[in-house]
Subunit: 247 residues, 4 copies
Amino acid sequence: MSGEGSARWEQAIHWPMLLASFAWLVAYSWSVIAVPVGADRTLALAVMGVTWVFFVVDYVVRLVQSGGHLSWVRGHLWELLVVALPMLRALRLLQFMTLAPGLRRSAGTALRTRIAIYGAGAALLLVYLGGLIVLDVERRAPGGNIDTFGDAIWWAFVTLATVGYGDFYPVTMIGRTVAVGLMLSGIAVVGVVTATLSSWIIERAALGRDDDEPSTRGQLRAVARQIDDLARRLGEPGDGTAEKEDA
Amino acid sequence: MSGEGSARWEQAIHWPMLLASFAWLVAYSWSVIAVPVGADRTLALAVMGVTWVFFVVDYVVRLVQSGGHLSWVRGHLWELLVVALPMLRALRLLQFMTLAPGLRRSAGTALRTRIAIYGAGAALLLVYLGGLIVLDVERRAPGGNIDTFGDAIWWAFVTLATVGYGDFYPVTMIGRTVAVGLMLSGIAVVGVVTATLSSWIIERAALGRDDDEPSTRGQLRAVARQIDDLARRLGEPGDGTAEKEDA
Amino acid sequence: MSGEGSARWEQAIHWPMLLASFAWLVAYSWSVIAVPVGADRTLALAVMGVTWVFFVVDYVVRLVQSGGHLSWVRGHLWELLVVALPMLRALRLLQFMTLAPGLRRSAGTALRTRIAIYGAGAALLLVYLGGLIVLDVERRAPGGNIDTFGDAIWWAFVTLATVGYGDFYPVTMIGRTVAVGLMLSGIAVVGVVTATLSSWIIERAALGRDDDEPSTRGQLRAVARQIDDLARRLGEPGDGTAEKEDA
Amino acid sequence: MSGEGSARWEQAIHWPMLLASFAWLVAYSWSVIAVPVGADRTLALAVMGVTWVFFVVDYVVRLVQSGGHLSWVRGHLWELLVVALPMLRALRLLQFMTLAPGLRRSAGTALRTRIAIYGAGAALLLVYLGGLIVLDVERRAPGGNIDTFGDAIWWAFVTLATVGYGDFYPVTMIGRTVAVGLMLSGIAVVGVVTATLSSWIIERAALGRDDDEPSTRGQLRAVARQIDDLARRLGEPGDGTAEKEDA
């Protein structure tokens, strides 16, 4: 029953959570890029605070629904981290993207197209969020050299692509942690691009040589039916499957 | 009828468009590298202007042929971008290369050879064009450090290979956008090289073990013919395909 | 008998060796990061010395068990290197990880999960150890620019990901050798990520097209049983395998 | 007859050419690293001169044997380049390595082992030769920053691994051309490592699921023999292959 309630909660909360993550990202972006003061600053902080309460409530509801077991906490560390660190909240947008139904079911070219679209979306979100956090922390750090939003996004791209000119680089612990995350994402991007191309080239390289292609399951089923038919004509109908008697 | 007219137009315009793109690239290269003055400058600008008019006419003709629908504009955003940004025009040369008939039809080693040739050509064109645009915009930018054609091409190679020494780097929005394009192209180049090698190694690693290779469609067709033949000898000729009656 | 004794020795020494490697790494880490003085320094050096003696004894025992042949020495150069260079000792922790039974036996998704976990563990250990050694040697070098543990770990990550900002770089022979090791590890990490994703995408891209899939060995065995059964009905039982007489 | 003479010449010249390439590399290394003066310098130049004459003679002999046709020159541009540019001569050592018989014939794990060994050897030779040439030209260049052999080899590794710290970088046309060559080699190294791992993982990921594996050619040949045998028992011996009569 708690599993049923949990599934109902997740379904009901799906879109509100997506909106809350988006609202938080907009408020955080505004507060970092425009550095608002007075009433504007209060508004940005208020939106971030309200959405944060929203995330805490979601976490607590799900914890209670699971029966408050420690094993649930251990199995959902990412959810705890998202509650503790507001910086990571916006990545929930990615998490929702992963849940997109299409990505799970498709095959062949459709799969490759979806992987490419999802990969590009994830990379852009990571560059945007990474640049934002690094600008937020590096701007205030002594010896920091990333001071404008343009430089931060440029630095994030240079890091994700593992180019690393060295015209900008983070000097704080948080900035460097974000940088490591971007580097690892960059390695994953290279991997996704290469793997997708590999799948395409390997499939393409096998075209146009039908007789040399691996025989298919459909072909073999047809042969099994031929033999079955032959057996029937010999007076004793087969049953459509090979008999398993020892010879 | 409009589809037919559009196909005729595209066929008729294929080579003139290629020439116009090439002429534009030569004129732009000349104006950026040699920085001509007086009559020379007028000539370069004239060639660029005439070819630009050519691109606009092509776009308008195709828009009219499609019936002027907004859906055509939405489905051909790249063509609109090429008209709006002269910098992107030369990439049309790549677009034509993609249309090369051979690339579409080959398999196995032939496919890999064509991918390698096309990939190398695309990479060189991107380095040349990227270097050119960056030189054009960075030379005039305050704080810019890319001042000669040699430095610009060197920087473009260092960026495409994702090495990024940091001896040269762009400081303008346009220069950085070009740099991101080169980085992404570099990741694609790594992907293409790896995928092509993978396809080759996976094919090679399976050689010399014929009995352990997947059985082929040709083999299975031969077996189906054997059974068919056997059935015929039993008095009732098969029809060459497995019969689909339920057993 | 010496082979048997050697296997018994390796089994008996497995866990003590793992502990000794770990103890050495802790002592070395402490001496490099905290730069202890007085009694603390003596303790760290004592632990490192005792574990070193432990490694020498292991090497000598295994050399004697092999009969002291030069061919054994030639075939176990890594073990000799580990004895000669204390810096490499901690990599034994990796060596033990490689021996984990699970990694050898699994297939498909289980294999990919284990490769990912092992790869991530190996990369983290290499970054930690690389940063430690580089800090140890670069801190004392004239012109060296890596002075704190945080900078050393940051530099190791930037090197492994082949980003190379250039904000920190080694200037000594040992530091540069470690850097080359980290770069090669980084290339291997990219390779492992890409290969694992490739295997997954290639498997996924083939899903949902059962009739077009290569026919399986199980299917073919069923067909062979069908034919066998048919032959038996014709009066002469087959023996369950194809007869090898020339036709 | 000229083809026969050419094959005989190539066989006779195989080992002397390898030795000459090696002698040239030793002499060039010595002249660049040790900067010998007086009689030593004369000796180094003499060795380089003699081996250069050797390469010219080989080229001329092969040109004459081919009948002096321009088509031969066009098909052997690399050989012409090697004669014209002494810097490229040592790469002949790689060319010979490619001709190693083992690399052509092996499959599976043996193929992967050979690819790894050959790739590592090629990468080391490229780093050594690249470092040497860059040291030779950059040392004398105004604004050049690569002055010692150690720095040159370090720079070559940093470039091959596409790390690019930027602590050293070439400023001359020749140095940058060598750098581009090293970068492309680095991309190839990443590709080879990834492709080899992919081939291994894809093979491994399929293990332990024998019934789900593609049926083999050996299996299908056994089934064909079973049917053949069955046909023989029905009074009309088959001929061991499927008959090609239309049904």
